[in-house]
Symmetry: C2
């Protein structure tokens, strides 16, 4: 068997992938990080991050990514911008096919392809993301002190976070397209008992308006009637989609939603293949634990390469 | 039952505890962090940290701790400096006894008491810690490019890291007090085959010398003969000791070495009690995954308090 091109390839350049790359580069592994778009992943479009430890005043997602990328580059992590279209684990050497037909081989692989929030797909949503439109209550809730906001959704996350967000917001309106919630009963009871949570049933957001921040939304009910609501924040909590298009889920092991399952050392079912960050099956998706997982996976790769583990 | 003093108490103010505190404070839990010494834990005595993501040029352990503490303080995390002498989990409300006899109660508890390296206990060791004396090869290895260094120990970590450190150091001498290694055979073979790793058997470090960095060590063999060796680094890899003095290990669940076992959400066997950072039973002990665990535990506490999990 020919020698692999790399000891380690890292798929995806968000905080998890960049940290894996930092550790691999410091450990002098022959490693390559492949990113299909721009380094940073979802963090790149995060306006302000207050809960990544080490930055007392917070910083923009753009700045945090830039710092992480510069740090990995300082230790000479090789980076390639390309779209991977195929993965083959049939041999001990893992094979990646790129969009232009090029193939790359590696002995170990860290999957850090991330996830993305399910979007409403309405006018104003993309433009105001990070400026009033949010997909994470833990991340952005504290920015909405004494403000009136909307939560979109009817599942566990939406209902739980609606209740949670009243720690900050003066009023939270849950906009749900059906006439009842899917959420667990105890969460529903808690939200119904919360005087600062209101429910708008059989309704959908049709448009989000505002210049540099959200001013109001346009809502349409199931009969077609439209109304306006003045709010400064819209939390869209209708699910997270794993970026797993090219991943052989059966081989790797995945949960029912398509997120990759691993052990505590981030190892998948395929020897030498790890998964980290938002693509992993887990309960908490934050920058601070994505980075931790990246470090753990790089060390797991090192151990795998040393023939310690299979 | 009387209302608890706090919804959450965090025991220990290193990176794991401070991050749990940051998340708890942002989540507006009534939370208290208790630290017996100075905030920061082991990081405080770490001279330079190059592998905490977000600081391209690295920073001192002191600076990193100061930033993390300032960030938690910005969200008004309450902090108390006290020595906890007793813990009681017999009721749903957890009870802590402090050295001065005061008692505090809480509904949930995050244990972040950390661990400490086993030390040689020789002159010069403490003074030169972070200035040539290190307890972590992953952290400090890259600082010793083309230098001659010593590794003390004969177990898995010592032998594996001796081999690893030759990625940087020109020569690594393993000083071991016996005439054979305890390490796993495959690790021994790898180290024996590495031309840049030498072994000094039946020997112990008696003294570490230098002003602002390590210059040399004095070595004594088992017959009492002394010799000097000029080196710039001494990696003491003879085990890690969990700070578990006050912890009821049987109740919490611990591994054979006294580290607390948890599930992926950092939960111990006692409902509402989490453990994070170096006190946890795990393979990788780095700042970057300690912080991630702190965040996960704070969110687990929030869920516990919401009555979601038992």
């Amino acid at each position: 068997m020919a020698k692999a091109d790399y000891q380690l390839i890292i798929l995806g350049g968000g905080p998890a992938g960049l940290t894996a790359g930092l550790y691999a580069a410091r450990d002098r592994l022959k490693a390559l990080l492949i990113e299909k778009g721009a380094l940073g992943g979802q963090v790149l479009v995060t306006d302000w991050i207050d809960n990544y430890p080490g930055f007392p005043e917070g910083l923009s997602g753009f700045d945090l990514v830039e710092k992480m990328a510069a740090q990995a580059a300082r230790f000479e992590l090789e980076t390639k911008y390309a779209q991977v279209t195929g993965l083959e684990f049939s041999e001990k050497t893992k094979k990646l096919t790129l969009e232009d037909g090029e193939t790359l081989t590696c002995q170990s692989l860290i999957i850090a392809t991330g996830a993305r929030p399910n979007k409403l797909g309405v006018p104003g949503e993309d433009e105001l993301t990070g400026k009033g439109v949010s997909y994470c209550a833990t991340c952005d809730g504290p920015f909405y002190k004494d403000q009136e906001i909307i939560v979109v959704g009817g599942g566990d996350t939406a209902v739980q976070e609606a209740d949670f967000l009243t720690k900050f917001a003066s009023k939270v309106t849950v906009v749900h397209r059906r006439d009842q919630l899917r959420a667990t009963k105890i969460l529903q009871e808690k939200a119904f008992a919360n005087k600062r949570v209101e429910f708008l049933w059989n309704s959908q957001i049709e448009e989000i308006n505002g210049e540099n921040g959200v001013d109001k939304v346009i809502i349409k009910d199931n009969s077609g009637n439209k109304s306006e609501m003045a709010v400064t924040g819209v939390f869209v909590l209708i699910g997270t989609i794993p970026n797993n298009d090219i991943l052989p889920l059966d081989q790797l092991g995945a949960d029912e939603f398509g997120f990759i399952q691993t052990d505590e050392e981030m190892r998948t079912k395929v020897p030498g293949v790890m998964a980290v960050g938002d693509i992993r099956s887990k309960t908490v998706r934050q920058v601070v634990n994505a980075t931790g997982e990246g470090a753990v996976a790089a060390i797991a790769a090192e151990h795998y390469l040393n023939g310690l583990t299979e």
